[in-house]
Symmetry: C2
Subunit: 230 residues, 2 copies
């Protein structure tokens, strides 16, 4: 029997995953400083749960790389180095190039669904740029790229990209307050969307590479910023 409309199994996902998702969101929003130790007991009571489920959630985030675990010391929020930034964006480039290739090989219908979604996100982005809401801009930025990759339907690619998106938001957070080249932001995403709609394979690939390359430049040009170390 299929569940009636609007009705779904209560808490179908494992608890640890729910806690992990919550924690990830807290971390990328900057609720914890990079390098800060995460106290198990304190967090457990804050989230009104026990240490057991919380530890399981922390394990997941360690595996993702957002937290690092030191035996008998505890877990700490990842400190991003410029090397990390380069790594993250190199992998993002690889994933997005693969996503672009897959999308252009797939049904036109599937692509246009994705394009519709991307359009909406760009609209929202322009709105938030006007309002100078950096947190919202960062969220929409990553939402755009996540939607792009989701368009492939490749669950493994999507899962990998979710981690990368979280790490990217941590990078952007470390930049603090502002995106440089704020006017170019909407423009660059619009170009990626246009090239996808035009099914211009090599143009799209180049645009993605440029987008990533510029992001690395922006993020590493200010090594003195809080949270970014050597």
């Amino acid at each position: 029997m299929a569940a009636p409309e609007g009705m779904f199994v209560l808490e179908g996902r494992p608890t640890a995953q729910l806690i992990a998702d919550q924690l990830r969101e807290l971390i990328v929003q900057g609720a914890f400083r990079p390098g800060q130790q995460v106290n198990e007991s304190a967090l457990a009571s804050q989230l009104s749960t026990s240490r057991g489920p919380l530890r399981e959630a922390l394990q997941r985030l360690c595996q993702e790389g957002i937290l690092v675990s030191k035996r008998n010391r505890g877990v700490f929020v990842l400190e991003l180095s410029t090397e990390d930034v380069k790594e993250i964006y190199a992998v993002r480039e690889a994933v997005e190039l693969a996503a672009a290739s897959t999308l252009l090989d797939s049904e036109p219908d599937q692509v246009s669904d994705t394009c519709r979604e991307l359009k909406g996100i760009i609209r929202g982005m322009a709105k938030q740029v006007a309002a100078s809401d950096w947190q919202a801009i960062a969220r929409l930025d990553m939402q755009f790229h996540t939607a792009f990759v989701s368009g492939t339907g490749n669950t493994r690619l999507i899962r990998i990209y979710e981690t990368l998106a979280a790490e990217s938001r941590m990078c952007i957070l470390s930049l603090e307050v502002a995106y440089p080249r704020i006017d170019a932001l909407v423009q660059e995403h619009q170009m990626i969307l246009d090239l996808l709609e035009a099914r211009d394979r090599s143009g799209l690939q180049d645009a993605i590479k440029r987008h990533m390359h510029k992001a690395v430049e922006d993020l590493t040009s200010k090594p003195e910023v809080t949270g970014i170390t050597a």
Copy 2:
């Protein structure tokens, strides 16, 4: 004070990670059937540990996708569909293409170190092909590709690839006993190595694409095989 040569901190890594590594190896070696439930209590006592650390390890493997967790039901070994096989190899292609690109952009010394390692693995592969040891061949096959990606030094790319390697071994395991085209196996890897040494970018990219494409064909051409569903 740096630790003296050959001496290192005892059990420096978290317990859950050690257990997870052990379990992953057991699973890819086929100690558990696809779809089989993993009993926590039983496994915990088998590994002479408690349910707590074991559950943390299981969480990690769930995140990797090797196990799937159903709330209040337990965790089960992943059942691979032909769709999964396509996904896995699409992501592997993306990662290896990125690795190839990175390697060809890096120092010649770094590349030759990698080539040396790859050569040794191919030698071992030829030996095991002669001996028809399929388990060893599968291990060396993935060891080759893992070494290739490791050559980039990108820790995130490497971590992602470790999961893909485990899933690939599960695919190969599902094929049971034999690789088809066993003679072509050593040859294909040798070609990848040669193109890397020759720094032939487009040739290497094509070779990787062909290698992955053929693997998917081999793995999905026999949908009636044990463990492969739908």
